[in-house]
Symmetry: C2
Subunit: 371 residues, 2 copies
């Protein structure tokens, strides 16, 4: 019988890069893992059946979007998001905090009430308290639940960052209480502190005292340089509990991922493979290709001659170039699927190289590859 | 070994409804047949692999669109459209005439030169002669080629319609010469004459004198009422050669198709299943459903509980309602595929009922169903 409780096993390390396994009632997740983003209950332009074929073991859903539409009442009718969207593998949900900051108008943080915002769909005022965020994520029936945090925009202002840590820690405590006891699910804390090691350390200390099933690095990939991001990861990931999974939210390009794995991160999510897919950018082992470029107009080679999912190896760059220029839906469908498949290939190569102790060689080969 | 020449076999009749088979080197087409439209080298939002699974045996490509993009040079590199778009079953192409009239600015008909138009993409002036239309369709490597015709807008002006017949007949002769001898392909003539029986008869007489492998009814589905269309079909289809396939261009709803089959038509094409799919209209045995309607918001039933293609029976109307309202690509993907599958189910039922001699009962049951 499968392990029915959430747990994490650290299998081996190569330098600071970690190979592991997350167990959940809905399936195992090999780490380092990449989670495609299904913002509104769909990974844009890709059938769930095909997501599975790429080797994806977990996807991400956005609490903010799902709360507004389809809403809790509909999700409850389906016992959560899995059945609603026809995906029975694990789902991680963010807490909604990040989208509230970036998408809503009139957003306000109130330490007691929570995040106050106007829906970007109908302008309705909504209060998302830490407790409400957990309740919504439970309605989604999410397997990995994130605490509600305050995620400030990129800033060097220590006062703003300190205040965000204080509020986020307070909310994290309330989320932990609301989450209660549920060994089938996980609750992750979110570390804030911008690019300051001392603030990150303070945040980590507060969160580990409360105790979570995993820890996310928040407030990164918000506009800082890649080297600033790698630097703060280098200074702080080792302060995180070794036996818990570590998740870098919203990251990133293949080289962002590679550099973060090199600092001990285990989990990633990003809209990049699908968003790039819709604009004709394809990730390949030859680098990032802009398929709209006229040099591909007569290129008879497929993006990946070995990929048989949905006969992807039967579609030439020439055809993709034609589809993108003609604004055809099929362009998004084919390139998004290709990109997710490439990301999962890339993650498998990362895991293989950690396992065989050759991660540093792989790292050096690809770290500057996709910039 | 398969029959390598194009041919048509009329198997049986039930009233005027005909059951038949078209043989081509690329496969057999059971008639009455519905051809999904792949305007720009893709049936919008549907993988070719999935089109096959709906039982589709032939699709339509648009000469006008393909001439402008990707263009002949690219198509020649792939020996035509089949390999370019990964579809190895038969393809029928229109001649370009209809799109030139409806999409281009500065279009002009010159009896000697052909159709003169400005590209809707870059404004470039292009002359499509009858000979050029056939050459382009041969570059597409189309299995069923249409003559270039002048398709006037809906009018009761006999002078306009007569002139169009005269020009179209002249062009049909030139197309026949340019087509030459190629038993693996078919060349279809296009009957004009608006809603006048005498003009249609004149057009049919001229075309049958030239001699074609099949005959299309053109200049219908251009804004006339359904009963006007059925009336002119009733008055004229019997004038067409019995042993050649008959194709009603650009038609239509399931009930349009049913009524036209009732008058002896064998082939149809229409963008309706995919265009409706993109706006959330689904064709089902319960009628046409507007999935955007809030009454489906909590409807847990799938559109077709028996359809296993791409797990369509796993997606509820509630989920489709959510996707459509959220402008998600997956809505177009799922509903377009469902609609094509429904159309092909509908055609199979039509054929089954002609075969078993129960077509009239089926006709009466569904003729008013999808209006």
């Amino acid at each position: 019988m499968e392990n029915q409780d959430f747990s994490f096993e650290l299998i081996s390390q190569n330098g600071r890069a970690r190979l592991g396994k997350i167990f959940t009632p809905r399936g195992v997740i090999d780490t380092p893992a990449f989670m495609p983003v299904g913002t509104q209950g769909t990974v844009k332009g890709v059938f769930t059946e095909d997501i599975l074929k790429t080797g994806t073991q977990i996807i991400l859903g956005n609490t903010y979007h799902l709360l507004l539409r389809p809403g809790i009442e509909v999700l409850n009718k389906f016992d959560g998001l899995h059945k609603f969207m026809n995906w029975d593998k694990p789902i991680l949900t963010d807490s909604g905090g990040y989208q509230i900051m970036s998408l809503s108008s009139l957003n306000k943080i109130d330490r007691d009430l929570g995040a106050i915002f106007k829906s970007h769909i109908d302008g309705k005022k909504i209060i998302l308290s830490p407790e409400k965020s957990i309740q919504v994520q439970k309605s989604i029936n999410s397997d990995i639940i994130m605490v509600l945090d305050e995620c400030p925009k990129l800033t060097k202002d220590k006062k703003i960052l300190s205040k965000a840590i204080e509020v986020s820690t307070h909310w994290a405590e309330r989320c932990k209480i609301e989450f209660g006891q549920d060994k089938s699910k996980a609750l992750f804390g979110i570390v804030q502190g911008g690019l300051y090691q001392d603030l990150r350390e303070e945040s980590i200390n507060s969160l580990t005292k409360i105790g979570f099933d995993g820890y996310a690095m928040g407030g990164l990939a918000v506009g800082e340089t890649q080297s600033d991001m790698f630097k703060i990861l280098k200074e702080t990931t080792n302060l995180l509990p070794k036996k818990k999974p570590r998740y870098l939210m919203g990251v990133g390009t293949p080289s962002d991922i590679l550099g973060a794995v090199n600092q001990g991160i285990d989990m990633f999510d990003c809209v990049m493979p699908t968003r790039s897919g819709r604009t004709g950018l394809a990730f390949t082992w030859e680098g990032k290709l802009n398929i709209k470029n006229s040099k591909y107009q007569k290129d008879k080679e497929p993006l990946d001659p070995n990929c048989e999912i949905r006969e992807l190896n039967q579609y030439s760059k020439s055809y993709l170039n034609h589809l993108i220029k003609s604004n055809e839906i099929l362009a998004s469908m084919l390139i998004s699927l290709h990109n997710i498949n490439f990301y999962q290939q890339f993650m498998r190569e990362i895991r293989k190289n950690i396992e065989s102790g050759t991660f540093t060689t792989f790292y050096k080969k690809y770290i500057d590859y996709f910039n």
